[in-house]
Amino acid sequence: MGGAARPRGRALEMSRFFDLYWQRLRRDRWQLLSWVASIGALAFFATTAVASAYGDDASRTEILHVATATPAILILRGLVRGPALDAFTFFQIFAFLGVLAGLMNTFLAVRHTRAEEEAGRAELVASTAAGRWMPLAATVTHGLVGNVLVAAAVTFGFIAGGLDAAGSLVAGLAVGATGLAFLTVGLLASEFMSTSRGANGAAAGVVVAAYLLRGFGDATGEVSQDGLTVTAAWPSWVSPIGWGQQTFAYTGNRLWPLLLPLGLGIICVSLTAVIMSKRDVGASVLAGRRGRTDARPSLRGPFALALRLQQGAIVSWCIGGFIAGLLTGALGAAIQQVSIANSSVTAILRAMIEAQGTSMTQLVIAVLFEIGGILAAACGLQAVLRLRQEEVAGTAELVLSQPLGRIRWFGSFLGLGAVSVVLVMVFAAFGAWYSLLVSGESAVEVSNLWETAGAQIPAALLYLAAPAAVFVTVPRATVPIGWALLALGVVLGIYGGMLGFDKSLRDLSPFTHTPVVTNTGTDWSGGFWMLGIGAALVTFAFLAVRRREVGTV
């Protein structure tokens, strides 16, 4: 009798599991599809762009020589493994694909774990026969399937672009495995943080840290005699994105480095399970504390509310900017010390560049401040996303039912967004100034540093103004359009040049127009144009918000 009952029980469990899995897939289908399609499309377009811009070995060799001579730019690219078209493409785009896969996975993990608990829906499921493990298993399965799709999309994207099939498969698997590692990072972050915002922030921070670590490792790696291959330094080996690069797709096709992300995944899932078995549904390791009976006198008016809601995020972005700044001094010094003596080509090139008055450290600053500018833009975007969240949650309705004009409410959140954009760059500049002071670097003038930081601000402010205009006109599109604008801006503006995208396409990105600070003078016109466009967009948003209903879903 018991023997007959057990298989039936197992069948029932399986069907419950599939119910949970389908529910996740149904909910995410468009989102997942657009992530997978974008990642695959990027692989394809990067390949065709590189092939048309750098068609022959000679031009690619030249680029690689410049890259190894000025390793700072390797932070934004990858590991140099020779001038063949497929290896060159992998060098250009893999790290960015890894970041995209990482963000897709951390958001996916948090969406189905901490966010569900926060909304109280997880409790509903946990109290049914599904228990507490089955939802986790369903989320992991959902993520696994997502990463298989990502791997397939990258593989086909590269093959369709005309690259070698076996190497493309390795490259696809590398992106998928990187994504898988970050899926489990997201699961673990959900256990530690008590809010989905916190969990998303922490996990996305790990993705950015992994990107920077491998950048550090690639930039300080050992350059070969011909200046066309680099052996990564240790920081690349503590980054899931770095592990993916170690497959040497197209040139080595090694699969064993992918055991590292899989191992990390197993560790993270085990830790998640251990923590889950010890805590209540809804609680977290870093649980929220009790609050005050009365509000502090400073909690007055919409700006104070915006600050209270955003302070955690702003502090995190500022820390991010500060770290990017701190890296400049350390990285500049490390690059100077790396021996390039055995590569005469690289040494000669570097001497030529330095003779023109551009120091290696200055290049490092330019690159890291570009990253700081992206952080500042994301921080501005978040101010608008918070407005939308307030509206969807219903707290906007609570506030706007009080005698408070909509303009003041809207303006307070945007104002704080603008302040935080500036703050992120101030912290980046301060970090850079401090680290250069410590490392004894004197080639860079301090005024140059502040100018470079200030130059990033107009583009970042556009990421406050444009989403604000979307928020007042097409509210429900605020979140997807906001992030899409940022991703497009980064792809076209920061990577577009190296990928060989057409200039008219690159000009669409605000980051393309960021003024370049040089010793001989700076052209600020791009910055002023962007400030003007931003002002126009914000003016439009202020006019339109008065005519807009509250709580439009």
């Binding site: 009790r290 009365d294 509000a295 706007l400």
Partner: protein, 328 residues
């Protein structure tokens, strides 16, 4: 005297959905006005338009003589409200949220007596203001909005199903506080609900909304004739012949050992002496419900929303209850 709240031929469309379809509502000063209707009838939409949060597609709305959409800020100084679905900030404590909202209103948190009043309300509603927003249940979130509204000194209170998450004990507290507002300050209250008995205790008059229109209204007493009270008692040896002929008695049935019938609510007192003479045992008298009122008087044209709730899904004969205790 002009009505405090007045809407004339109010329409609101969401795409093809007509949430409001020519709504005429009037609320007299100093009254508690019940705004009754099933889910999806358009109560929240009406209140949101009256608050200037949503804009009417056509028609006119005035609150205290002001235009809600254009004079929103001025209006909000004089109107307090509780939204239908209260959410509060997850990382602010309940006490902080109440203080913050009061300061937006009139710097209220600094006024003499504010803190005393807030503490009094927190105690009355058995509300712990130190918990963070994410830790509150639906009822407790509702208490945040309720306390923030009650602590404000306003002329008009717009309350959207304010007791839907409260237990009966808290409902009684709520009823007492609303009575106080009206008798002490002469405030006007518009109170929406989909449960008749909730409104019954408080309202001087009611408007009944269905599918975006007012279908009935007036004082509560004038509506009683529309409703019937359910009466049942044990069957044992009672001669039901005496009841069958009465004009106040409807739908008499015998099932599962009990005799049941409905009586016109305003004539129940005429039936009770007869029941007394019959010496009935286990007498149960169920108050009329809004649902019953709807089924009885507007049942032939029920909106689809209220049908969805039925398990057999939207067929009209689903309404005739299957006889209890078949095969007995």
């Amino acid at each position: 005297m002009d009505p405090v709240i007045q809407t004339v031929d109010l329409h609101k469309n969401f795409g093809r959905v007509k949430a409001l379809d020519g709504l005429d509502l009037e609320v007299t000063a100093g009254q508690v006005h019940g705004f009754l209707g099933p889910n999806g009838a358009g109560k929240s939409t009406t209140l949101r338009i009256l608050l200037g949060l949503a804009r009417a597609s056509s028609g006119a709305a005035r609150v205290l003589g002001l235009h809600p959409w254009t004079d929103a800020v001025e209006l909000h100084r004089r109107v307090a409200s509780v939204p239908g679905d209260v959410s509060i900030w997850p990382n602010l404590s309940g006490g902080e949220a109440i203080d913050f909202l009061s300061r937006l209103r009139d710097g209220g948190a600094d006024r003499a007596g504010y803190r005393r009043n807030k503490e009094r309300l927190c105690q009355l509603f058995d509300f712990d203001p130190t918990k963070k927003g994410r830790a509150y249940s639906k009822g407790n979130r509702q208490k945040v909005a309720l306390i923030a509204a009650l602590v404000a000194d306003c002329e008009v209170y717009l309350l959207d199903e304010p007791t839907s998450g409260l237990d009966p004990l808290m409902e009684a507290v709520f009823t007492r506080e609303i009575r106080r507002l009206v008798s002490e300050k002469g405030a006007t209250v518009l109170l929406s609900s989909h449960i008749l008995s909730e409104v019954e205790q408080l309202a001087d008059s009611v408007s009944i909304i269905r599918a975006g229109r007012i279908v009935d209204g007036g004082t509560l007493d004038s509506l009683r004739h529309l409703t019937r009270t359910g009466i049942s008692f044990a069957q044992d040896q009672v001669d039901v012949q005496a009841l069958q002929g009465l004009s106040q008695v409807h739908d008499l049935t015998v099932a599962a050992g009990r005799i049941k019938f409905n009586a016109d609510s305003d004539r129940v007192h005429e039936v009770l002496p007869i029941l007394g003479r019959l010496g009935v045992q286990g007498l149960l008298v169920a108050p009329p419900s809004l649902e019953e009122l709807f089924l009885r008087h507007y049942g032939d044209a029920l909106p689809p929303q209220s049908e969805e709730a039925k398990p057999d899904g939207g067929t009209h004969h689903g309404r005739s209850r299957p006889p209890a205790g078949t095969g007995a």
